[in-house]
Protein backbone atom coordinates (compact mmCIF):
# COMPACT_ATOMS: atom_id res chain seq x y z
CA UNK A 1 0.00 0.00 0.00
CA UNK A 2 1.22 3.52 -0.78
CA UNK A 3 2.20 5.43 2.35
CA UNK A 4 -0.39 8.20 1.92
CA UNK A 5 -3.17 5.66 1.28
CA UNK A 6 -2.13 3.64 4.30
CA UNK A 7 -2.09 6.77 6.45
CA UNK A 8 -5.53 7.77 5.24
CA UNK A 9 -6.87 4.26 5.85
CA UNK A 10 -5.61 4.23 9.45
CA UNK A 11 -6.87 7.79 9.95
CA UNK A 12 -10.36 6.80 8.71
CA UNK A 13 -10.48 3.78 11.01
CA UNK A 14 -9.49 5.96 13.98
CA UNK A 15 -12.07 8.61 13.13
CA UNK A 16 -14.75 5.91 12.86
CA UNK A 17 -13.78 4.53 16.26
CA UNK A 18 -12.84 7.61 18.30
CA UNK A 19 -14.57 10.45 16.46
CA UNK A 20 -13.64 13.46 14.36
CA UNK A 21 -10.57 15.53 15.27
CA UNK A 22 -8.89 12.91 17.48
CA UNK A 23 -5.85 12.43 15.26
CA UNK A 24 -3.97 14.46 12.70
CA UNK A 25 -2.33 12.69 9.76
CA UNK A 26 1.04 13.77 8.40
CA UNK A 27 3.32 12.01 5.92
CA UNK A 28 6.99 12.19 6.88
CA UNK A 29 9.20 10.65 4.16
CA UNK A 30 8.02 7.02 3.91
CA UNK A 31 6.07 6.99 7.16
CA UNK A 32 2.49 7.87 7.99
CA UNK A 33 2.58 9.83 11.25
CA UNK A 34 -0.50 10.30 13.40
CA UNK A 35 -0.49 13.03 16.02
CA UNK A 36 -3.03 12.16 18.66
CA UNK A 37 -4.28 13.69 21.88
CA UNK A 38 -2.70 12.50 25.08
CA UNK A 39 -5.77 11.09 26.81
CA UNK A 40 -6.45 8.75 23.87
CA UNK A 41 -3.04 7.20 23.32
CA UNK A 42 -3.44 3.99 25.29
CA UNK A 43 -6.87 3.15 23.85
CA UNK A 44 -5.72 4.10 20.39
CA UNK A 45 -2.62 1.88 20.51
CA UNK A 46 -4.77 -0.90 21.95
CA UNK A 47 -7.11 -0.44 18.97
CA UNK A 48 -4.25 -0.38 16.44
CA UNK A 49 -2.86 -3.56 17.96
CA UNK A 50 -6.06 -5.55 18.30
CA UNK A 51 -8.21 -4.38 15.39
CA UNK A 52 -8.23 -7.21 12.85
CA UNK A 53 -7.65 -5.14 9.73
CA UNK A 54 -4.92 -2.98 11.31
CA UNK A 55 -3.12 -5.54 13.52
CA UNK A 56 -0.07 -3.46 14.40
CA UNK A 57 1.11 -6.09 16.85
CA UNK A 58 4.81 -5.24 17.05
CA UNK A 59 6.24 -2.25 18.90
CA UNK A 60 9.38 -1.44 16.89
CA UNK A 61 10.51 1.36 19.14
CA UNK A 62 9.38 4.12 21.41
CA UNK A 63 11.21 7.24 22.50
CA UNK A 64 10.87 10.62 24.13
CA UNK A 65 11.72 14.01 22.66
CA UNK A 66 12.15 17.56 23.91
CA UNK A 67 11.43 20.64 21.78
CA UNK A 68 12.44 23.62 23.95
CA UNK A 69 11.37 26.19 21.35
CA UNK A 70 7.96 24.73 20.67
CA UNK A 71 4.70 26.03 22.15
CA UNK A 72 4.60 25.19 25.89
CA UNK A 73 1.73 22.75 25.32
CA UNK A 74 3.90 20.87 22.80
CA UNK A 75 7.26 20.98 24.60
CA UNK A 76 7.65 17.26 25.29
CA UNK A 77 6.74 14.42 23.00
CA UNK A 78 6.60 10.65 22.85
CA UNK A 79 6.81 8.62 19.66
CA UNK A 80 5.60 5.06 19.21
CA UNK A 81 6.54 3.16 16.06
CA UNK A 82 4.38 0.17 15.24
CA UNK A 83 4.73 -2.55 12.64
CA UNK A 84 2.32 -5.04 11.14
CA UNK A 85 4.44 -7.94 9.87
CA UNK A 86 1.69 -9.64 7.92
CA UNK A 87 1.02 -6.71 5.58
CA UNK A 88 4.40 -5.10 6.22
CA UNK A 89 2.84 -1.76 7.20
CA UNK A 90 4.48 0.68 9.54
CA UNK A 91 3.11 3.70 11.36
CA UNK A 92 4.27 6.27 13.90
CA UNK A 93 2.10 7.69 16.64
CA UNK A 94 3.14 10.95 18.25
CA UNK A 95 1.80 12.64 21.32
CA UNK A 96 2.78 16.01 22.76
CA UNK A 97 2.46 17.40 26.27
CA UNK A 98 3.58 20.36 28.41
CA UNK A 99 6.47 20.17 30.87
CA UNK A 100 4.07 20.52 33.78
CA UNK A 101 2.30 17.26 32.96
CA UNK A 102 4.60 14.44 31.84
CA UNK A 103 2.31 11.64 32.93
CA UNK A 104 1.49 8.90 30.47
CA UNK A 105 -0.17 5.53 30.71
CA UNK A 106 2.31 2.68 30.48
CA UNK A 107 2.08 0.46 27.39
CA UNK A 108 3.55 -2.55 29.21
CA UNK A 109 0.16 -4.38 29.28
CA UNK A 110 0.10 -4.21 25.48
CA UNK A 111 3.79 -4.91 24.82
CA UNK A 112 6.18 -6.10 27.57
CA UNK A 113 8.94 -4.60 25.39
CA UNK A 114 7.70 -1.16 26.46
CA UNK A 115 9.13 -1.86 29.92
CA UNK A 116 12.74 -0.89 29.17
CA UNK A 117 11.80 1.70 26.54
CA UNK A 118 9.65 3.55 29.06
CA UNK A 119 12.37 3.29 31.69
CA UNK A 120 14.68 4.98 29.19
CA UNK A 121 12.15 7.76 28.47
CA UNK A 122 11.80 8.27 32.23
CA UNK A 123 15.54 8.22 32.80
CA UNK A 124 16.43 10.72 30.08
CA UNK A 125 13.37 12.96 29.83
CA UNK A 126 11.42 12.49 33.05
CA UNK A 127 8.20 11.06 31.67
CA UNK A 128 6.17 9.29 34.35
CA UNK A 129 4.44 6.13 33.15
CA UNK A 130 1.51 5.13 35.34
CA UNK A 131 1.04 1.40 35.68
CA UNK A 132 4.68 0.62 34.89
CA UNK A 133 5.86 -2.36 36.97
CA UNK A 134 9.37 -1.08 37.68
CA UNK A 135 9.81 2.58 36.77
CA UNK A 136 13.40 3.40 37.71
CA UNK A 137 16.45 4.66 35.88
CA UNK A 138 17.85 2.22 33.35
CA UNK A 139 21.13 3.64 32.02
CA UNK A 140 22.10 6.40 34.43
CA UNK A 141 22.99 5.89 38.07
CA UNK A 142 20.09 5.76 40.52
CA UNK A 143 21.04 8.88 42.49
CA UNK A 144 21.23 11.18 39.47
CA UNK A 145 18.86 14.08 40.12
CA UNK A 146 18.11 15.35 36.62
CA UNK A 147 17.03 14.04 33.22
CA UNK A 148 20.08 14.54 31.00
CA UNK A 149 18.62 14.40 27.48
CA UNK A 150 16.50 17.49 28.04
CA UNK A 151 17.89 20.32 26.02
CA UNK A 152 18.55 22.62 28.97
CA UNK A 153 21.38 20.35 30.15
CA UNK A 154 24.60 21.28 28.38
CA UNK A 155 26.91 18.77 26.75
CA UNK A 156 29.67 19.24 29.29
CA UNK A 157 29.36 19.39 33.02
CA UNK A 158 29.87 23.07 33.88
CA UNK A 159 30.99 22.21 37.41
CA UNK A 160 34.11 20.36 36.35
CA UNK A 161 37.39 22.19 36.81
CA UNK A 162 39.76 19.59 35.37
CA UNK A 163 38.68 20.31 31.80
CA UNK A 164 40.59 23.50 31.10
CA UNK A 165 40.37 24.69 27.51
CA UNK A 166 44.12 24.76 27.03
CA UNK A 167 44.32 20.99 27.52
CA UNK A 168 41.82 20.39 24.76
CA UNK A 169 43.23 22.72 22.11
CA UNK A 170 40.41 25.21 22.46
Amino acid sequence: MIVSELGQYIQDKIVAKFGEGTSKLEIHYDFPVLIVSKSLVYDLLDFLKNDESLAFNYLTTMCGAHYPNAHTEMEFGLMYQLHNFENNNRVRIKVFMPKSDLNMKSMTPLWPAANWMEREAYDFYGFIFSGHPNLKRILNMDDMNYHPMRKEYPLEDATRHDKEDKYFGR
Binding site: T61, F85, N88, A113, I138, L139
Partner: protein, 262 residues
Amino acid sequence: MDIKQSEILEAAEKNFSVLNLGPTHPATHGIFQNILKMDGEIVMEAESTIGYIHRAFEKIAERRPYNQITTLTDRLNYCSSPINNMAWHMTVEKLINAEIPKRAQYLRVIIMELARIADHIICDTVIAVDTGAATGYFHLFQYREMIYEIYEEVCGARLTTNIGRIGGLERDFSPKAWEKLRKFMSTFPAALKEFDKLVTRNRIFMDRTIGVGCVSKEMAMKYSFSGPNMRAAGIDYDVRAMNPYSSYEDFEFDIPVGLAEL
Protein backbone atom coordinates in the same frame (compact mmCIF):
# COMPACT_ATOMS: atom_id res chain seq x y z
CA MET B 1 19.97 -3.80 44.07
CA ASP B 2 16.30 -4.68 44.05
CA ILE B 3 16.60 -8.12 45.56
CA LYS B 4 16.13 -7.43 49.26
CA GLN B 5 17.58 -9.16 52.32
CA SER B 6 14.24 -10.88 52.97
CA GLU B 7 14.21 -12.27 49.47
CA ILE B 8 17.74 -13.63 49.87
CA LEU B 9 16.63 -15.39 53.04
CA GLU B 10 13.54 -16.72 51.32
CA ALA B 11 15.65 -17.92 48.42
CA ALA B 12 18.00 -19.68 50.85
CA GLU B 13 15.06 -21.46 52.43
CA LYS B 14 13.91 -22.73 49.06
CA ASN B 15 17.47 -23.75 48.26
CA PHE B 16 17.83 -21.03 45.64
CA SER B 17 21.07 -19.14 45.64
CA VAL B 18 21.67 -15.53 44.71
CA LEU B 19 24.67 -14.91 42.49
CA ASN B 20 26.08 -11.55 41.53
CA LEU B 21 27.32 -11.90 37.95
CA GLY B 22 29.29 -8.89 36.78
CA PRO B 23 29.51 -5.90 36.18
CA THR B 24 32.65 -7.41 34.69
CA HIS B 25 32.56 -11.10 33.91
CA PRO B 26 34.34 -12.87 31.05
CA ALA B 27 31.08 -14.43 29.85
CA THR B 28 29.08 -11.22 29.50
CA HIS B 29 31.33 -9.74 26.75
CA GLY B 30 30.71 -6.20 27.91
CA ILE B 31 30.05 -4.52 31.19
CA PHE B 32 26.70 -5.23 32.72
CA GLN B 33 25.51 -6.60 35.98
CA ASN B 34 23.09 -9.43 36.59
CA ILE B 35 21.83 -10.42 40.01
CA LEU B 36 20.72 -13.97 39.45
CA LYS B 37 18.38 -16.17 41.41
CA MET B 38 19.68 -19.65 40.78
CA ASP B 39 18.32 -23.12 41.29
CA GLY B 40 21.56 -25.06 41.04
CA GLU B 41 22.89 -24.11 37.61
CA ILE B 42 19.57 -22.88 36.27
CA VAL B 43 18.81 -19.18 36.29
CA MET B 44 15.29 -18.60 37.66
CA GLU B 45 15.24 -14.80 37.66
CA ALA B 46 17.63 -12.02 36.81
CA GLU B 47 17.84 -8.35 37.67
CA SER B 48 19.96 -6.59 35.04
CA THR B 49 21.76 -3.27 35.20
CA ILE B 50 22.79 -2.30 31.69
CA GLY B 51 23.92 1.28 32.16
CA TYR B 52 27.63 0.95 32.87
CA ILE B 53 28.80 1.84 29.38
CA HIS B 54 26.20 4.39 28.35
CA ARG B 55 28.11 7.04 26.39
CA ALA B 56 25.40 9.62 25.64
CA PHE B 57 25.93 9.65 21.88
CA GLU B 58 22.59 11.42 21.39
CA LYS B 59 23.77 14.26 23.60
CA ILE B 60 27.15 14.52 21.90
CA ALA B 61 25.43 14.44 18.48
CA GLU B 62 23.28 17.43 19.43
CA ARG B 63 26.16 19.81 18.88
CA ARG B 64 27.89 18.23 15.88
CA PRO B 65 27.43 18.68 12.13
CA TYR B 66 26.00 15.61 10.38
CA ASN B 67 29.26 14.33 8.91
CA GLN B 68 31.00 14.40 12.30
CA ILE B 69 28.35 12.14 13.80
CA THR B 70 29.42 9.22 11.58
CA THR B 71 32.40 8.59 13.85
CA LEU B 72 30.05 8.12 16.79
CA THR B 73 28.07 5.49 14.90
CA ASP B 74 31.28 3.43 14.50
CA ARG B 75 31.17 2.82 18.19
CA LEU B 76 27.54 1.71 18.50
CA ASN B 77 28.50 -1.81 17.55
CA TYR B 78 32.19 -1.99 16.77
CA CYS B 79 31.82 -5.53 15.40
CA SER B 80 30.03 -4.15 12.34
CA SER B 81 30.81 -0.43 12.22
CA PRO B 82 30.18 -0.07 8.47
CA ILE B 83 26.52 -1.03 8.80
CA ASN B 84 26.02 1.60 11.47
CA ASN B 85 27.85 4.15 9.32
CA MET B 86 25.57 3.36 6.38
CA ALA B 87 22.44 3.55 8.50
CA TRP B 88 23.47 7.03 9.56
CA HIS B 89 24.33 8.13 6.00
CA MET B 90 20.99 6.84 4.73
CA THR B 91 19.12 8.64 7.50
CA VAL B 92 20.70 11.97 6.59
CA GLU B 93 20.24 11.28 2.87
CA LYS B 94 16.54 10.74 3.49
CA LEU B 95 16.43 13.99 5.46
CA ILE B 96 18.10 16.08 2.75
CA ASN B 97 16.41 14.10 -0.06
CA ALA B 98 19.68 13.10 -1.72
CA GLU B 99 19.84 10.52 -4.49
CA ILE B 100 22.75 8.08 -4.40
CA PRO B 101 24.41 6.74 -7.59
CA LYS B 102 23.63 3.08 -8.27
CA ARG B 103 27.30 2.08 -8.16
CA ALA B 104 27.73 3.63 -4.71
CA GLN B 105 24.63 1.78 -3.51
CA TYR B 106 26.01 -1.56 -4.73
CA LEU B 107 29.42 -0.89 -3.20
CA ARG B 108 27.67 -0.08 0.05
CA VAL B 109 25.83 -3.39 -0.13
CA ILE B 110 29.17 -5.20 -0.54
CA ILE B 111 30.64 -3.39 2.46
CA MET B 112 27.55 -3.98 4.58
CA GLU B 113 27.45 -7.67 3.76
CA LEU B 114 31.15 -8.02 4.60
CA ALA B 115 30.44 -6.33 7.91
CA ARG B 116 27.53 -8.68 8.51
CA ILE B 117 29.79 -11.69 7.88
CA ALA B 118 32.49 -10.26 10.18
CA ASP B 119 29.95 -9.71 12.94
CA HIS B 120 28.49 -13.19 12.57
CA ILE B 121 32.02 -14.64 12.67
CA ILE B 122 32.48 -12.98 16.06
CA CYS B 123 29.10 -14.06 17.45
CA ASP B 124 29.27 -17.62 16.19
CA THR B 125 32.86 -18.28 17.13
CA VAL B 126 32.61 -16.64 20.54
CA ILE B 127 29.60 -18.70 21.55
CA ALA B 128 31.73 -21.71 20.63
CA VAL B 129 34.53 -20.42 22.87
CA ASP B 130 32.10 -19.83 25.73
CA THR B 131 30.85 -23.37 25.44
CA GLY B 132 34.34 -24.79 25.32
CA ALA B 133 35.51 -24.97 21.68
CA ALA B 134 38.27 -22.47 20.95
CA THR B 135 39.72 -24.04 17.81
CA GLY B 136 37.03 -22.85 15.41
CA TYR B 137 37.39 -19.35 16.79
CA PHE B 138 41.06 -19.07 15.87
CA HIS B 139 40.41 -20.64 12.50
CA LEU B 140 37.59 -18.28 11.43
CA PHE B 141 39.21 -15.18 12.88
CA GLN B 142 41.73 -15.34 10.06
CA TYR B 143 38.85 -14.62 7.71
CA ARG B 144 37.62 -11.74 9.84
CA GLU B 145 41.12 -10.36 9.46
CA MET B 146 40.74 -10.62 5.67
CA ILE B 147 37.53 -8.59 5.86
CA TYR B 148 39.30 -5.96 7.97
CA GLU B 149 42.02 -5.76 5.34
CA ILE B 150 39.36 -5.06 2.72
CA TYR B 151 37.96 -2.24 4.89
CA GLU B 152 41.51 -0.94 5.23
CA GLU B 153 41.88 -0.92 1.46
CA VAL B 154 38.57 0.95 1.03
CA CYS B 155 38.65 3.50 3.85
CA GLY B 156 42.01 3.24 5.59
CA ALA B 157 40.65 2.01 8.91
CA ARG B 158 39.98 -1.43 10.33
CA LEU B 159 37.70 -1.42 13.36
CA THR B 160 36.06 1.99 13.69
CA THR B 161 35.78 2.51 9.98
CA ASN B 162 33.96 5.82 9.41
CA ILE B 163 33.33 4.32 5.97
CA GLY B 164 31.32 6.11 3.28
CA ARG B 165 30.11 9.68 3.20
CA ILE B 166 26.70 11.30 3.22
CA GLY B 167 25.72 11.12 -0.45
CA GLY B 168 27.83 8.11 -1.42
CA LEU B 169 31.30 6.79 -0.72
CA GLU B 170 34.59 8.58 -0.15
CA ARG B 171 36.25 6.71 -3.05
CA ASP B 172 35.77 3.82 -5.42
CA PHE B 173 37.26 0.43 -4.55
CA SER B 174 40.91 0.17 -5.60
CA PRO B 175 42.10 -2.79 -7.76
CA LYS B 176 43.81 -4.10 -4.60
CA ALA B 177 40.47 -4.06 -2.75
CA TRP B 178 38.79 -6.10 -5.50
CA GLU B 179 41.69 -8.54 -5.43
CA LYS B 180 41.36 -9.02 -1.67
CA LEU B 181 37.60 -9.32 -2.00
CA ARG B 182 37.95 -12.09 -4.60
CA LYS B 183 40.46 -13.92 -2.44
CA PHE B 184 38.08 -13.75 0.53
CA MET B 185 35.11 -14.95 -1.49
CA SER B 186 36.98 -17.90 -2.93
CA THR B 187 38.32 -19.16 0.40
CA PHE B 188 35.69 -18.26 3.00
CA PRO B 189 32.85 -20.69 2.09
CA ALA B 190 35.09 -23.73 2.60
CA ALA B 191 36.31 -22.37 5.95
CA LEU B 192 32.76 -21.73 7.09
CA LYS B 193 31.79 -25.26 6.17
CA GLU B 194 34.72 -26.57 8.16
CA PHE B 195 33.72 -24.48 11.17
CA ASP B 196 30.18 -25.78 10.87
CA LYS B 197 31.45 -29.36 10.92
CA LEU B 198 33.75 -28.61 13.83
CA VAL B 199 31.18 -26.95 16.09
CA THR B 200 27.50 -27.21 15.16
CA ARG B 201 27.18 -30.99 15.53
CA ASN B 202 29.75 -31.19 18.31
CA ARG B 203 28.25 -33.13 21.24
CA ILE B 204 29.52 -30.70 23.89
CA PHE B 205 28.30 -27.66 21.98
CA MET B 206 24.90 -29.26 21.40
CA ASP B 207 24.51 -30.25 25.06
CA ARG B 208 25.33 -26.74 26.19
CA THR B 209 23.08 -24.84 23.78
CA ILE B 210 20.07 -26.93 22.73
CA GLY B 211 17.04 -26.10 24.87
CA VAL B 212 18.88 -23.36 26.77
CA GLY B 213 17.19 -19.95 26.93
CA CYS B 214 14.58 -20.73 24.27
CA VAL B 215 12.40 -17.93 22.95
CA SER B 216 9.07 -18.65 21.30
CA LYS B 217 7.66 -16.72 18.34
CA GLU B 218 5.03 -15.08 20.55
CA MET B 219 7.62 -14.02 23.11
CA ALA B 220 9.86 -12.60 20.39
CA MET B 221 6.94 -10.50 19.11
CA LYS B 222 5.92 -9.30 22.56
CA TYR B 223 9.45 -8.34 23.54
CA SER B 224 10.24 -6.64 20.20
CA PHE B 225 13.08 -8.96 19.23
CA SER B 226 14.69 -7.95 15.95
CA GLY B 227 17.26 -9.15 13.43
CA PRO B 228 18.84 -12.60 13.74
CA ASN B 229 17.34 -13.22 17.19
CA MET B 230 13.87 -12.72 15.81
CA ARG B 231 14.51 -14.99 12.85
CA ALA B 232 16.00 -17.62 15.15
CA ALA B 233 12.70 -17.55 17.06
CA GLY B 234 10.96 -18.42 13.79
CA ILE B 235 9.63 -15.12 12.46
CA ASP B 236 10.53 -14.77 8.78
CA TYR B 237 11.16 -11.04 8.64
CA ASP B 238 14.26 -9.45 7.20
CA VAL B 239 14.29 -5.72 6.60
CA ARG B 240 16.58 -6.16 3.58
CA ALA B 241 13.85 -8.17 1.85
CA MET B 242 10.71 -6.56 3.24
CA ASN B 243 11.70 -2.87 3.25
CA PRO B 244 14.77 -2.83 1.02
CA TYR B 245 17.28 -0.01 1.22
CA SER B 246 20.44 0.74 -0.79
CA SER B 247 19.16 -1.35 -3.77
CA TYR B 248 18.83 -4.62 -1.83
CA GLU B 249 15.79 -5.29 -4.04
CA ASP B 250 18.21 -5.95 -6.94
CA PHE B 251 19.83 -8.90 -5.17
CA GLU B 252 18.72 -12.44 -4.63
CA PHE B 253 19.52 -14.00 -1.27
CA ASP B 254 18.27 -16.64 1.12
CA ILE B 255 17.36 -15.83 4.69
CA PRO B 256 17.81 -18.47 7.38
CA VAL B 257 14.85 -18.80 9.76
CA GLY B 258 14.63 -20.94 12.90
CA LEU B 259 12.28 -23.91 12.58
CA ALA B 260 12.17 -25.35 16.10
CA GLU B 261 8.72 -25.49 17.68
CA LEU B 262 8.50 -24.81 21.39
